[in-house]
């Protein structure tokens, strides 16, 4: 009996259950809006007629700070945007600056980076699955997911000392050599993760109530998805077979086999299936990568002070939420002239109104969960 009377469900205008519409206010403090997101819903009875997302409660002006920090100093800020997938943020930023410099991380660094990013993808999807199931009412999966996620965070902690905002990578390669036992930890995690994920599947996939609550909810067609610029699992669940790791391979993805899960209808159930399949693929990549981590240097010769030649670059990676892009303009000094982050959660959240229209109030909670947003990245 969770007693959540602190919810800020403030102003509810117009009459109770009157014939005309009610404005229902969800958030910004609300148990299931995954952070400080406020959604104003216009309801006709139970149906959502119109919705408006009000964001900006967590805006810290990251892009402004970037203009007053050197390239290396800005790297830790990048982890704080999508704090659930800090490692992939770091990878995106470091690779963008390396492209700006025209440098290239050594092969060993690229492989270790791939392994850590894929582990981070599994951790991010696990956190999504746990909270999404909790919103829809399944109390048990959240604890299984956090148990697995704990294993991954332990590996991160052993490698770079931090669990959440890891700042694991440096521009030009890696700061730390992999600790001995790194390969065996990752191998052990991947091995027992296979039957763990089957455990979740048995709990949810054929569960009639789960299917009832997710099938046909928050449908997004492929055309709408592309028009709205939606990327990542949400786009793949709408039937578009596109993944940056295959389309424009970066780090060491080119030399591993993995396939891209897609689903036809693009409803909440399909996004669930796509993300579960993605976790399996990530685990497969990790196993392949662990087989042969090339020896050699872990840091390219980029020197202490980075002064990239003037110009601009756009580089993006496949973050767990979607395409995370960095558009960096350099004016030749040690500080970036402009860093623009393409936040997948921010753009995917824009599709919320298209999905929520016509659905029931209870589905709004499921739809917010299925887009998988992190407010740190939405507000930057």
């Amino acid at each position: 009996m969770t007693d959540t009377r602190t919810s800020g469900l403030s102003n509810v205008e117009t009459t109770v259950l009157g014939a005309d519409e009610i404005i229902l206010n969800m958030g910004p403090q609300h148990p299931s809006t995954h952070g400080v997101l406020r959604v104003k819903l216009k309801l006709d009875g139970e149906r959502v007629v119109d919705s408006e997302c009000i964001i900006g409660y967590l805006h810290r002006g990251v892009e402004k700070i970037a203009e007053h920090r050197s390239y290396q100093q800005f790297a830790p800020y990048v982890d704080r945007m999508d704090y659930v997938a800090a490692v992939s943020n770091g990878l995106g930023y470091c690779e963008a600056v390396e492209k700006l410099l025209g440098a290239e991380a050594p092969p060993r660094a690229r492989v270790v980076r791939t392994i850590l990013t894929e582990l981070q993808r599994i951790a991010s999807h696990l956190l999504w699955l746990g909270t999404h199931a909790l919103d829809i009412g399944a109390l048990t999966p959240v604890f299984y997911c956090f148990r697995e996620r704990e294993e991954i965070l332990k590996i991160f902690e052993k490698y770079c000392g931090a669990r959440l905002t890891t700042h694991a990578f440096r521009i030009g390669g890696l700061q730390y050599e992999t600790y001995d036992g790194f390969e065996s930890d990752v191998k052990r995690f991947c091995e027992d993760f296979t039957h763990r994920i089957d455990e979740y599947e048995t709990l949810l996939t054929e569960n009639r109530i789960w299917v009832g609550r997710t099938k046909g909810v928050g449908i997004l067609s492929a055309a709408d998805a592309i028009a709205l610029g939606v990327t990542g699992p949400v786009l793949r669940a709408s039937g578009v077979k596109w993944d940056l790791r295959k389309a424009m391979p970066y780090a060491a993805y080119a030399d591993y086999q993995f396939d891209i899960p897609t689903r036809p209808t693009g409803d909440t159930y399909d996004r669930y299936i796509v993300r579960m399949e993605e976790m399996r693929q990530s685990q497969r990549i990790c196993l392949q990568a662990i087989e042969n981590i090339p020896a050699g240097a872990i840091m390219a010769k980029v020197g202490k002070v980075l002064k990239p030649p003037p110009g601009e670059v756009y580089h993006s990676i496949e973050a767990p939420k979607g395409e995370l892009g960095y558009y960096i303009v350099s004016d030749g000094t040690t500080q970036a002239y402009r860093v623009r982050v393409r936040p997948p959660s921010f753009i995917n959240l824009q599709a919320f109104d298209r999905m929520a229209r016509g659905s029931l109030v209870a589905d709004v909670v499921a739809i917010i969960g299925t887009i998988d947003i992190v407010l740190g990245e939405v507000d930057r």
Binding site: T15, V16, L17, G18
Partner: protein, 168 residues
């Protein structure tokens, strides 16, 4: 025997008191609650008359079913409007006179029958217990009226659904 009288007095006072309170309340939900009190009191009196099946059905049907719908409707309709209505309208006097006449009639009937006003003795274990007796009566002796009543109810229900359907 004394216990019977005490209980009977309690139930009747409760019934009368609740109905008066029900009529005079300004807040509509309070009057609904007092109506429930009155119905429960009558159920108590049924029990006193050894008609336990009626006692239970009265509670399930009236209080558990119909009154729930009453309270439902009260809560769905906007209450502020009814609060502001003036409590007693102009026909106050006509209603008073009518009540007096009816009261006199009832008292007169009581006065005539005052000799036999006793509570029924607790029925010694009569063979078909109350529930079976009602069951047999309903489904054997009064089969036809029972069917007609059920069809009538069905028609009423369908009518209500059809009317509500169009509005929704």
């Amino acid at each position: 025997m004394a216990m019977n009288y005490i209980l009977f007095a309690f139930f009747s006072v409760m019934a009368i008191g609740c109905s008066i309170l029900m009529v005079t309340r300004r807040n509509i939900v309070h009057s609904a609650v007092f109506l429930i009190g009155a119905l429960l009191a009558t159920a108590g009196i049924f029990l006193q008359l050894q008609a336990e099946f009626l006692f239970v059905v009265q509670i399930i049907l009236y209080v558990g079913g119909i009154m729930v719908l009453f309270v439902f409707v009260i809560m769905l309709v906007n209450l502020d409007v009814s609060m502001r209505l003036v409590q007693f309208n102009r026909q106050k006097w006509a209603a008073g006179v009518l009540a007096l006449v009816l009261g006199a009639q009832v008292l007169f009937a009581l006065w005539i029958g005052r000799g036999e006003l006793r509570l029924p003795a607790p029925a010694v274990d009569v063979s078909p217990k109350n529930t079976e007796a009602i069951g047999q009566a309903l489904f054997q002796h009064y089969m036809l009226p029972f069917e007609i009543a059920s069809v009538l109810l069905l028609v009423a229900m369908i009518g209500a659904v059809v009317m509500a359907k169009r509005r929704v």
